[in-house]
């Protein structure tokens, strides 16, 4: 594309939202994506290893050529970083749950009010769509039984300020009509077939066209819609290596720099290319957006870029029942319990590989050293015959994911690893995260609440993975924080850089904290709003 109006870096959860909204307004948008462009119908094999292997799965953070190693990060305090490259980004492997953030986490903490966000939530919820699940699979119904047994009120509301349990609002089409004998591969099947493969990428219904695949990842929603305007071009295998900018206050904004374009590297050929544009949108996520900013040499006067990383300090509690649970059936998550102030917990269906790793593969503690004064029976790592026996109970197991409202500490951050060699895209990021005591207490509280719910549901035995030291990063946020004070934030309330004119951010890195609720919908709502801000400020 010659002379785009806007370049969007990253075609994951947020970038395509901004791209589509701008393209709809007639602007020419060039969207770059570091990873490949997969076809759900042919490339999503539904194999746990084939799709999700950290080193060479199709949805890994790495180049399209899977014989090459993944892209690297230096890590301090965190082990597993679950992030996907490719058009659709991490929405390819997320479970689609799309709650709004907790109301108390916005007011007085963000430069926007919750009321400001609601119209943008509604816009994205209508477009995807985000649908309240109208039935629960067995695993989720068991979770719901436990919630009700401990006195949690059922809610179907999108706005949460008090403890409740909820059927989920998911970016997944309604459950398909599947009468006895239905051929699930026939063209007449519409909606979610409850296959349980949300985390491996959703190829179902098999016969559905791209835009009608059940899970509403951005590669089947916002990306096709952006392309359909005729104003958007998507370039996969394009790893952004620098923001092009001019120093000095040429535009009269008072800012020390002005973005003018992007340089990227073709990951297949190694060729370097550039495009100039009227505005640039960074949407590569909470690790790559600050990395790109720092590698570009952009102004960072207050050393705010990359700081205040949060990730919901996730953990897993597994309950083993004497009844069939079928964790592989249904949408991966259909029921949740929300506890503003602490975070959220939700039922999670896993395949056997993920289940075995959650139960035995990592974590703090050892299975044969039961914790004192805690309600779970075992914690940490399993091995040997005992591990195999426990894993064998997969079909009677229910995993509950803990997603903590972790504190934003300024020293949890993304920087450049100056003690590691650079890769082909420049100095590599260093990700540092150490949970604060308050964050750890909240995680522990949620783990105990998970056990309480599972016990109320009739569980026989519980195990806490206890990812206290082997920290699992999924909901990575906050490193390009939105705020009014440049000393503690990177972008203003319109998502534009405090110090860089015409440079915007449209991914979860802008979030100052969502309270533990899954962040994608909030990032998408802000991305839609960012498009509006870009258009008003520079293309009005």
């Amino acid at each position: 594309m010659d002379a785009p109006d806007v370049v969007v870096i990253g075609a994951g959860g947020g970038g395509p939202v901004t791209a589509r909204e701008l393209a709809e307004r007639g602007l020419k948008v060039l969207m770059l994506e570091a990873g490949p462009w997969l076809d759900p119908s042919t490339d999503y094999s539904r194999g746990e290893h084939d799709m999700r292997a950290l080193m060479n799965g199709r949805l890994r953070w790495g180049p399209a050529d899977r014989t090459k190693p993944p892209w690297i990060r230096r890590r301090d305090g965190t082990n597993l970083i679950l992030q996907a490259a490719g058009v659709g980004g991490t929405t390819q492997h997320y479970n689609g749950i799309s709650p709004r953030m907790f109301v108390p986490n916005v007011d007085d903490r963000w430069p926007l009010s919750y009321a400001d966000l609601v119209p943008w939530y509604e816009q994205v919820e209508e477009f995807l769509p985000v649908t309240l699940v109208r039935d629960l699979a067995t695993k989720d119904a068991i979770f719901a039984e436990g919630c009700e047994a401990i006195g949690l009120r059922r809610s179907e509301e999108r706005d949460v300020a008090h403890p409740v349990w909820r059927p989920c609002h998911n970016a997944i089409l309604p459950i398909a009509d599947m009468p006895p004998g239905v051929d699930l591969r026939s063209a007449g099947v519409e909606g979610c077939t409850m296959c349980g493969h949300c985390l491996e990428g959703c190829p179902n219904p098999i016969a559905a066209p791209l835009e009608r695949k059940a899970k509403r990842a951005t590669n089947v929603t916002y990306v096709p819609a952006a392309l359909a305007t005729g104003n958007c071009e998507v370039v996969p295998n394009a790893f952004a290596t620098a923001i092009l900018f001019e120093s000095g206050d040429g535009g009269g904004s008072g800012k020390p720099a002005r973005a003018r374009g992007v340089r990227w590297r073709d990951t297949e050929t190694g060729e370097s290319r550039e495009a100039e544009a009227g505005a640039v949108v960074m949407a590569g996520g909470s690790i790559e957006s600050p990395r790109l900013w720092l590698n570009s040499g952009l102004p960072n006067s207050h050393d705010a870029v990359g700081r205040r990383l949060t990730m919901h300090l996730q953990d897993i509690v597994i309950g083993m029942f004497d009844r069939e649970v079928h964790p592989d059936r249904g949408q991966v998550t259909m029921a949740r319990a929300d506890f503003p102030g602490y975070g959220t917990i939700f039922a999670q269906g896993y395949g056997p590989q993920s289940h075995s790793i959650a139960l035995a593969g990592a974590g703090t503690g050892f299975w044969d050293r039961p914790p004192e004064d805690e309600p779970w029976d075992t914690e940490g790592r399993f091995w040997g015959e005992e591990a195999q026996r426990r894993i064998g109970e997969y079909h009677r197991s229910l995993a509950v994911v803990v997603s903590t409202n972790d504190e934003a500490h300024r020293d949890n951050r993304v920087t450049l690893a100056d003690d590691w060699p650079p890769d082909e895209h420049g100095p590599v990021p260093k990700v540092t995260y150490h949970a604060t005591p308050a964050s750890q207490e909240r995680q522990d509280w949620l783990a105990r609440k998970s056990v309480e719910i599972l016990c109320a549901a009739g569980v026989r035995e519980t195990h806490r993975s206890n990812f206290r030291q082997s920290v699992l990063m999924t909901h990575i946020m906050g490193t390009m924080r939105m705020g009014n004070d440049p000393a503690t934030s990177v972008i203003d309330s319109g998502s534009e850089g405090h110090e860089v004119e015409r440079l915007f951010v449209a991914d979860s890195s802008v979030l100052p904290g969502v309270g533990g609720a899954n962040p994608t919908l909030t990032a998408q709502a802000l991305s839609a709003r960012t498009a509006d801000q870009i258009a008003r400020r520079y293309f009005g």
Binding site: R46, H49, P70, L184, G330, A360, R396, W420
Partner: protein, 151 residues
């Protein structure tokens, strides 16, 4: 674990390192009634592939670490010559160290071993993994009309 330290240069682990790795795999996922162990599933090759992609040369490094900690469990004994219970003690010692890298080394061998047993890679093309029958997993699915079974 998202990668190691730079461009991949393929290396072949030392044979002695593979002996040590096999012992670790066997201790993590041994045979149980009705199911072969990870080694019988051919896990060794798949674990080496993942470990070497994570960090070229890491198989040798991992073996050296296991042997070093084995000395603390039974002096003068290589890891591969320890009993399964003693190998578990080595895992404990390594995972208990105040070292991110050591914990990650343990994570790596556990995660890759379990993946080799319980994912589709434990079977040949078009074959159904034996582990799936034991754990009650239906396998890749077009959908589950019976998603409320048991309620």
């Amino acid at each position: 674990m998202t990668g190691g330290h730079g461009p991949m240069v393929r290396t072949m682990p030392e044979e002695a390192s593979l002996v040590t790795l096999r012992a670790a795999i066997e201790a993590i996922a041994p045979p149980v009634a009705e199911q072969p162990g990870a080694l019988e599933f051919g896990a060794e090759g798949r674990v080496v592939e993942q470990v070497e992609m994570y960090l070229p040369g890491f198989t040798d490094m991992l073996a050296a670490l296991l042997d070093a900690f084995a000395m603390d469990v039974r002096p003068g004994t290589a890891f591969a010559d320890l009993t399964p219970a003693e190998r578990g003690e080595v895992f404990r010692l390594m995972a208990s160290e105040d070292s991110h890298d050591l914990r990650e080394a343990v994570d790596a061998v556990f995660v890759f071993t379990l993946g080799a047993v319980y994912s589709e890679q434990s079977a040949g093309p078009g074959e159904r993994p034996a582990a799936w029958d034991r754990v009650g997993f239906d396998g890749p699915s077009d959908g589950h009309p019976d998603y409320r079974t048991g309620l």
